[in-house]
């Protein structure tokens, strides 16, 4: 039997995934660029009315788009940071503190919200946050908050809902890296005189950078593009860029402008991620050493 045959077979096995990648990623991306130049709406009945550069120009020069991009980016950064702060100790506890036999159960519990319907998650957390809900009632009764205060329909409510939705992904990403860290390395760090914080910065953080990067990727981008959460749980000042894109496809019937906004959003987020990756690479070199 020729020893090269299995390698050839493996090479051929790449084709299905390559085709899927092409069909589901590159083709839609090319379509997005193409439709960004469509004048007005694109319909199956009438096709494309014409082509224009105005969509791109308007998207780049619009003050409304700029404002919404900034608001969306700010909310996404906040949600990502909160997720990191909560997820690190949680993932560490599951990976290193809890006995091994309970780990899979705890991981399952922490990712259960990710299996639940998105709308159900939003409505359930809203029930807790409403003025006569489980969280607000004791705070109001104890006089911690003045009567009539409600966190619902504010930007804080949107952030809480988004953290609740995306926390499981961050925990899972970090857990996969933290679990591989050798406890002897941690012990050695302590033996050599490093305190807990120094151990975290110099040992744990560098070894979990890849998980952290994955977590940031999985949380930051979808959160920045959210539109359901601000629409349902947000107030009059909670609109995000995702809502504007959504309205172009569903109410304004201006698919061309919607595609241009999506393209601009994609470029900004790609650029942001490139910067984050670069910063983390530099930090990794400096810390890790």
């Amino acid at each position: 039997m020729n020893a090269k045959h299995p390698r050839k077979l493996v090479r051929h096995l790449i084709w299905p995934s390559a085709v899927i990648l092409l069909a589901m990623s590159l083709v839609p991306l090319c379509m997005l660029v193409f439709f960004s130049f469509a004048d007005g709406n694109v319909s199956t009945l009438n096709g494309i009315a014409g082509y224009t550069i105005d969509n791109i120009v308007n998207a780049v020069t619009s003050a409304t788009v700029g404002r919404l991009m900034l608001r969306s980016f700010w909310i996404a950064v906040l949600v990502t940071v909160i997720c990191i702060v909560i997820a690190y100790p949680a993932a560490w506890a599951i990976a290193k503190v809890v006995p091994e036999k309970y780990r899979s159960t705890l991981i399952m519990i922490s990712i259960v919200p990710a299996f639940t319907s998105q709308l159900l998650l939003i409505y359930s957390i809203m029930t807790l946050m409403q003025s006569n809900g489980l969280i607000m009632t004791p705070l109001l009764k104890l006089g911690i908050l003045p009567a009539g205060t409600s966190i619902l329909y504010t930007n804080q409510a949107v952030i809480i809902v988004l953290v609740y939705e995306y926390l499981p992904y961050m925990i899972l990403s970090l857990y996969s890296c933290l679990e591989k860290i050798d406890v002897n390395v941690i012990a050695a760090s302590h033996t050599l005189g490093a305190n807990r914080f120094q151990t975290f910065v110099n040992v744990v953080l560098p070894q979990s950078f890849s998980g952290l990067m994955t977590g940031i990727l999985i949380v930051l981008i979808p959160v920045a593009g959210s539109f359901v959460e601000p629409n349902i749980a947000g107030g009059p000042y909670s609109m995000m860029i995702g809502s504007l894109i959504d309205s172009q496809f569903t109410t304004a019937m201006n698919m061309g402008y919607g595609a241009a906004l999506s393209l601009l959003f994609l470029l900004i987020m790609s650029l942001t991620l490139a910067v984050i990756k670069l910063v983390m690479k530099i930090a990794d070199r400096r810390i890790g050493g």
Binding site: G40, R67, L152
Partner: protein, 365 residues
């Protein structure tokens, strides 16, 4: 042998007859069906659970006119238009269309004009709904007959607000800061603001409307997007005043909530659905009878008094005859609002301007 020959002859004659009947025109086919005992069938395109599929709708009509009524449930406006343009014509006989899309259907050549002189109940229908330009073709012929309507008007929680509310300006009153909700829908929002700012709701000054809506933001708690969204905000006490569909206000009232729903003095935002006949239908007469039935006293009365999902009648005689209790539940007491600004189609330019304005209002800091 003789028996065989006789049987063959009978079969040959029967087959020839069947062939001849089959070769006849479609009208003859219907007549043949009638003669053979098969009932004439009317295909009605409407939204599911929207009055006509209730017992008092299709079933009652079918019994009264000894025919069959089949529903084609609409899933979306473009989809229905596509069906009618691609072979649905001739199969679907009557369609329910909102005036927002009537001209689009007319331009696609799928609608027939309606001779309203043949409709017994047409004279009793609300004149303001019958006379809008959108239900006429370029020659002034009628293409749609109104059969159901409703409003998106002003509600308030009477447990919290004890003042008498009569105007849209209450929404802008600083007393209600953080208590107001508005439907997250450009058309209702802009026309509401136009009425408040004393502008023509169909063609307002956009700068004035934008300023009014941005000013209102400091009072707004949330923009509601769906039935559940509104009910949640209202029942939890988060919002106490704003705009809402009449049907939601009725539902909450029936559940025991002290909600008041009024038609402000400046006017109210409304909607109305129309029956249209599909071009070249084989069942023109039955389609006319269907429209007359749906606008007649029995159907309109049943629709207004239905225990669940009641709708306001277009027939003014029926409205006048309703009990005070029913009129109250439909928010038509003491009388139906006269100044109803129907949702009507916008030009492409208007649509862009209106949706852009609404997005800018929501995006404003």
């Amino acid at each position: 042998m003789k028996t065989r020959k006789t049987l063959s002859l009978v079969l040959a004659i029967a087959m020839s007859m069947a062939l001849l009947t089959g070769c006849g025109g479609s009208d003859k086919s219907v007549e043949g069906n009638k003669e053979s005992g098969e009932k004439e069938k009317l295909v009605v395109a409407n939204w599911q659970s929207y009055a006509t599929d209730a017992d008092y709708g299709a079933a009652s009509f079918a019994e009264q006119y000894n025919c069959e009524v089949e529903h084609y449930f609409i899933s979306s406006i473009p989809e229905l238009l596509s069906v009618l343009e691609n072979g649905g014509t001739g199969k679907i006989d009557v369609v329910c269309i909102n005036p927002l899309y009537l001209q689009q259907y007319l331009n696609a050549g799928v609608l027939e004009t309606i001779d309203t002189s043949k409709l017994e109940n047409y004279k009793n229908l609300r004149k303001d709904f019958c006379s809008i330009d959108e239900v006429k073709d370029s020659s002034g012929n009628i293409i749609g007959v109104p059969w159901v309507w409703g409003t998106t008007s002003l509600f308030y929680n009477a447990d919290v607000i004890t003042d008498e509310i009569t105007s849209w300006s209450s929404l802008w009153d600083s007393k209600y800061a953080g208590m107001v909700t508005l439907e997250n829908e450009y058309d209702a929002a802009i026309r509401t603001a136009a009425m408040y700012a004393d502008q023509n709701p169909r063609n307002p000054d956009m700068d004035t409307v934008e300023k009014a809506l941005v000013d209102l933001k400091s009072n707004v708690k949330t923009y509601w997007t769906s039935h559940d969204d509104f009910v949640k905000a209202y029942t939890s006490g988060e919002v106490v005043i704003g705009n809402v569909w009449g049907s939601i206000a009725t539902e909450l009232k029936n559940e025991g909530y002290n909600i008041q729903y009024i038609h402000p003095e400046e006017g109210t935002v409304g909607w109305c659905d129309y029956w249209c006949i599909v071009k070249n239908t084989e069942h023109q007469d039955l389609a006319m009878k269907w429209i007359d039935y749906c606008t007649g006293e029995y159907f309109q009365n049943c629709m207004a008094t239905a225990s669940s999902q009641a709708y306001s009648p277009v027939n003014t005689v029926v409205t006048d005859q309703l009990s005070d209790e029913t009129r109250q539940s439909l928010w038509l007491y003491p009388e139906a609002p006269s100044n109803v600004n129907l949702a009507l189609p916008l030009t492409d330019e208007q649509l862009t301007n209106w949706t852009t304005l609404w997005d800018e209002v929501k995006a404003a800091n």
